[in-house]
Each structure stands twice: as C-alpha cells, then as structure tokens.
Amino acid sequence: MNSQAVLEFARGPFFYFALLFMLFGLAFRLFSVISLGWSRDRVSPMGSKTKGVVVTFLKAFLIWPFIPWVKNTFNRNPLIYIGGGLFHLSLFVVIILGTPHMLVWKSLIGFGWATLPLPIVDWMSAIGIIAMVILLINRRIHPVLKLISGPAEFFAWLFVFLPMLTGYMMTHHIGGSYEALYARHMITVDVLMIWIPLSRISHFVFYFFSRAIHGQEFGKRGVAV
C-alpha cells in the first residue's frame, strides 16, 4: 500500500470508526457511572450548593490558571502545574485555534471560527511537546508518581504524545513525503481517539462531575471553594 492509500484509509473509514468508537465509548462510560445511582443528599445546607458550584468553575477556569502562585498547589508542585498547564493550553490552541484543525471541525459540525497565525500555533505545539517530555521524565523520577504509575499511565502518555509529535513533523516536513507524514499523523490521531474511552484520558468528561461535587460539598457548608 502506498502512502496515498494509507492516508485515504486513515482520514476516511478509520477516522470515522475511531470517532464513533470514542463517542460511543465515552457515552457508555458515562452511562455506566450514572447508572450506579446517586443517593439524594438530605442534609440541610448551611450555604448555597449552587453558588459553590458556580464559583468553583469560575475560579478553575478564570482565576487560578492566571495567578497560580497564590495557591500552595502551585508552590509545592510548580513543575506538574506549569507542565500540565502548558500542555493543556497547547492542546487548546492547536486543536481549536489552529487553522487546519478548525477546518476539520468545520467539516464535522458545519461552522468555523477565527484562528491564530501559524507561527503562534507552531510555537505552542512545540511547547506542548516539550512539556509532555518533561512530565514523562518527572513521572519516572518523582517518588509518588513512580508509585502510582503503571503501564496504563505510560500508554496514555504515548498515545497523546504521538499525534502531537507527528503533527509537528508534518508542519515542518520532517521525515518523509507529505502524504506519508499526513498518514502517520492521522493514524496516531485515530489510535488516540480509540484509546480515550479505554483510559484515564477520559478524565475531561468526569472533571465536570468532580468539580461540581467539590463546589456542592464546600458550598453547602458555606466554605469558600
């Protein structure tokens, strides 16, 4: 099979299969969790749960990322905090604000949006790659991370890292013809999409639950979140 054929497959049937697998897989995971049942909280609150939830999300998205040094979390874990933060920022910039990806979104959902100039996106992707490498090294040497990491953590890292790497190589024409590079990128993306519902990469779905629970628990006690 030549690169062209592989590419056709990776951005055609394989892509749609992976996409559906991811969506159904996540829906299934979500359903399994919810179907375990949620008992009603009969405790009379001292403060507002709703306020707690709203405030905790606002803080998580709009405040802490920009003034992290006021939190102990940051001061005691600067590496994980900055590394993790830059990695997520890089993902957001590249996948949402990069022109090629925006066009993929447009073809899937029907509308597009303004994007950032290529050099910025390119730098952000490089930063994301470096952050990932640093996080991996840290995971291998930090005593706590060593203890809590197994094959699952490594594979999750690998399957997120590969699309980032192949995407960067593709933009810079490193390591083969355009078709070959493109095909490689698409295959790693497809594999990632399949891996998401099978691993903890799915945390972004459950994040909304755990953060909301945090807001409720602190809010009902009238304690700042």
């Binding site: 979390t73 809590i148 990491s149 953060r211 945090h214 006690r221 009238g222």
Partner: protein, 422 residues
C-alpha cells in the same frame, strides 16, 4: 463464610454509587494531592499520597464495575486485592490520615478525596482490619457508652464535680428544654473546665438548655473507624436522647469528627436526624456574641503575648464555622490576634484527628506532622494557640509536652467564658 478480602470488597462496592465512581474516574493520577497531605510533607513517604491511600477503593471499583478494569485484572495488569493489602492499607489509612480533606483543596480535578478515604475506612472496618487500639475503643463505646470509660456513674460524678468545683449549674434531663448539649468524653474527662465554661456561657445567655443522661457522649468512634453500623448506633443514642427530651436543637461541643457525623452525614443515614437543628458550639458562640446575648470584655486577652487560631478540619474546613472564631478573637484580642499561614479552609491539620491520636503505632508520624504546626505557630511568634476542637487540643497539649514548647493551648469556649461581662 466470606473471606476478609471479600468482606472488604463487598463494602467497597457498597460504598460505590455514581457519586464515588464519577470521582474515581476523574482522577488523572497527577500526584499533586501528595503535597497537600501533612503526613507526606512531614515524612516524604510516597505511600502517604492521598491518591495512593485510596488505591484499594479504586481497584475494587474498576475491577467490579468497569469492563476495562475487569479485563485488566484478568490479564494480570491490575493487582487483585489481598489480605496483605488490606493490612497494609489499614496502616496507611488509620495511622497516616486524619480525613482532614485538605487534599481536596489541592486536587486539580476537585475530587472530594476525604469522602473517598472515608469509603476506604468503611471497607477496612467491614473486614475488621483496623488497629487494635481503635477496635478496643469502639468496643468500649459499644459496651460502656464511651471510648474513654465515661460510664453512667462516671459521667454522673464528673458533672456533679464540675458543677461544684466551678459553681455552675448544669441542667440535666430537662424535658421541654430548647437545646440539648452533648459533651465529648475528652472534655468531661480531660478538659472539664470546658464543660464548666460552656455551662456558664449558656446560663448567662438565658438559654433553655439541658444535658441528657441518655445522650451523654458525642464522640463517635464508629465514624473514626468507618463502620456505618457503629456510627449509626452511636448517633442513635444521641438522637434518642434528644427525642426523649423533646428538644429542637442539638449542640455538639468541641469534637470535630462527631460534628461532621451528626451535622453533615446523619440525615442521610437516619431520617429522623433532620428533625433537629444540629449546630457546633462555635456557631452558638458566634450567635450569642454577635446578637449581644452575651457580652465579652474587649481586649481581655490582649496582654499575654500573641494569640493565633488553629482551624480544625472538621469544624472549620469541613464544618463551615470559619468566621465566628475570628470575630470573637478580634474582640477578645484586637491587638494580639494574628493569623497563621495557611489558615481558614486552607489550614493544615494538627495531625491528631480522624482517630490517629488513639492509635499508638501512629505516634511517630503524628509528632512528625505536628512539626509543621510548630513552624506555623513560631512563624507568627504566638504564645497562645486557640482552637475549637478538643481532639486538636489533645494533640496540641500532648505535643507541646513532647516537644517541650512554652505555648498556652486554649479552648475558645473557655476564653469566652473567662471574658464574660458580669
């Protein structure tokens, strides 16, 4: 017969509703919670990372409820829980965790780790893999009504003595009183002045209050242990006493864990619990001072060096009474009251809560974690540390002794009682 491990697994599974599962699923295993834990900070032992302390709960959930977890366990990629594991995690959870929930403040996913760690205890308690001294205290509370040996007669004599010694009236078993106060045996047996102080304050405020001979112990060792059965048994003793006397509200005195159990959990286990207002004495003090029902002498404690306030995990961060002590201390010591860092909901646990102080084997880590407290108090140069939990106070007085510190350890109720305007 179920094996020990099966019993624990059953209990873990029982603990796991969607609420717990969603949070276990959200964990990214980033390890950031480690740095929040005073036991990890004090010792650097990676096994004290909160995420690791709840490892068995995660395994039980994943292997029982998720396809991937089942497959991984079958292929040997995820370890099954063994009896040795239970014994090991029992040490980690009962010796090096006070269930203070500081880790939840740090987790980027906002996971309520403290609740999940309580779930860990539930499994360990169901399998009866708990430290011998804790088990003995629970048995004592089942049989005698109190883990500290405060039997009917002892309770009776102690209160009699307190009433005499401090010349204060302690109304007993008064039907039709509005408020029932339930002291902890720590106060009755070790800090009796606290009992006298609270009585004096309530009398002064003209509160229609009573103690109950049925509901004489607020401490709940079942909640420390994590056993739902024992927790409910002890909660019911309190609620029955309240029902008999027909009171409207129950005041929990200076015990944090007991307050957490009665105020923030009881209604979910025992529906009648919602018939009563449950409030911590700190809330009552705030109310009485704020409304002017009692008057305290401004600046009464201003001349004895700096005073700082230690936030108790279960009364402040997990209890909600963060502002009241500050409002009161600002009146009592406007010039010498100074905040430690971190404080309020971010404060660091004293290291003695969650039953840890009752477990002898925990002594080394308990003292090690108290060293963090020493640094915080010394950083502001305080000579007096005020607090609202007698369990913290036990840890403070014991550690002050152990480290030969020249601090005064003061219960807030006692400070208020001392400063009452005649």
């Amino acid at each position: 017969m179920m094996s020990t491990t099966e019993k624990a697994m059953e209990a873990f599974v029982h603990e796991t509703g969607g609420w717990v599962a969603a949070q276990l699923e959200a964990c990214t295993r980033c390890g950031m919670c480690a740095e929040a834990c005073h036991f990890y900070q004090a010792t650097g032992n990676p096994e004290y990372a909160p995420v690791w302390k709840m490892e068995l709960l995660r395994r039980a959930y994943e292997q029982r409820f998720t396809i991937i977890g089942g497959v991984k366990a079958t292929l040997g990629l995820d370890k099954r829980v063994t009896d040795e594991d239970l014994a090991h995690w029992s040490d980690l959870n009962y010796e090096a965790c006070t269930v203070c929930n500081k880790c939840s403040m740090v987790c980027p996913m906002g996971i309520d780790i403290g609740s999940l760690l309580h779930g860990m205890r539930a499994g360990l308690a169901a399998a009866e893999v708990i430290p011998a001294d804790l088990a003995a205290a629970v048995t004592k509370q089942v049989n005698e009504g109190s883990p500290l040996g405060m039997t009917d007669t002892v309770w009776d004599q102690r209160l009699e003595w307190v009433a005499d010694e401090w010349e204060v009236e302690i109304p007993r078993d008064v039907k039709g009183a509005t408020t029932m106060v339930v002291f902890s045996s720590i106060e009755v047996m070790k800090f009796p002045a606290n009992v006298a102080a609270i009585a004096k304050i309530l009398n002064k405020a003209g509160e229609k209050w009573t103690v109950s001979s049925k509901a004489r112990e607020i401490v709940n060792f079942g909640f420390y242990e994590g056993s739902e059965e024992h927790t409910k048994l002890f909660l019911n003793r309190v609620l029955d006493g309240a029902k008999d006397l027909g009171v409207k509200r129950i005041v929990v005195t200076e015990c944090g864990h007991a307050y957490d159990a009665l105020r923030w959990h009881a209604a979910n286990w025992i529906p009648e619990a919602s018939n009563f207002d449950v409030i911590h004495i700190t809330g009552v003090l705030g109310e009485l001072v704020g409304s002017g029902r009692i008057k305290i002498k401004p600046g009464f404690f201003d001349n004895g060096g700096k005073i700082t306030f230690h936030d108790a995990c279960k009364i402040q961060r997990k209890g909600g009474h963060i502002q009241e002590p500050r409002d009161i201390l600002k009146v009592l010591a406007p010039n010498s009251f100074t905040e430690m860092t971190p404080n309020r909901e971010e404060s660091v646990c004293c290291g003695g809560g969650g039953g840890v102080i009752a477990v002898k084997a925990a002594d080394p880590v308990r003292y090690a974690s108290f060293e963090l407290k020493i640094d915080q108090v010394n950083a502001v140069g305080a000579k007096t540390v005020s607090m609202t939990c007698s369990n913290c106070r036990l840890q403070f007085t014991d550690s002050v002794d152990h480290f030969k510190l020249d601090w005064k350890v003061a219960g807030l109720s006692q400070m208020v009682a001392d400063a009452l305007e005649e």
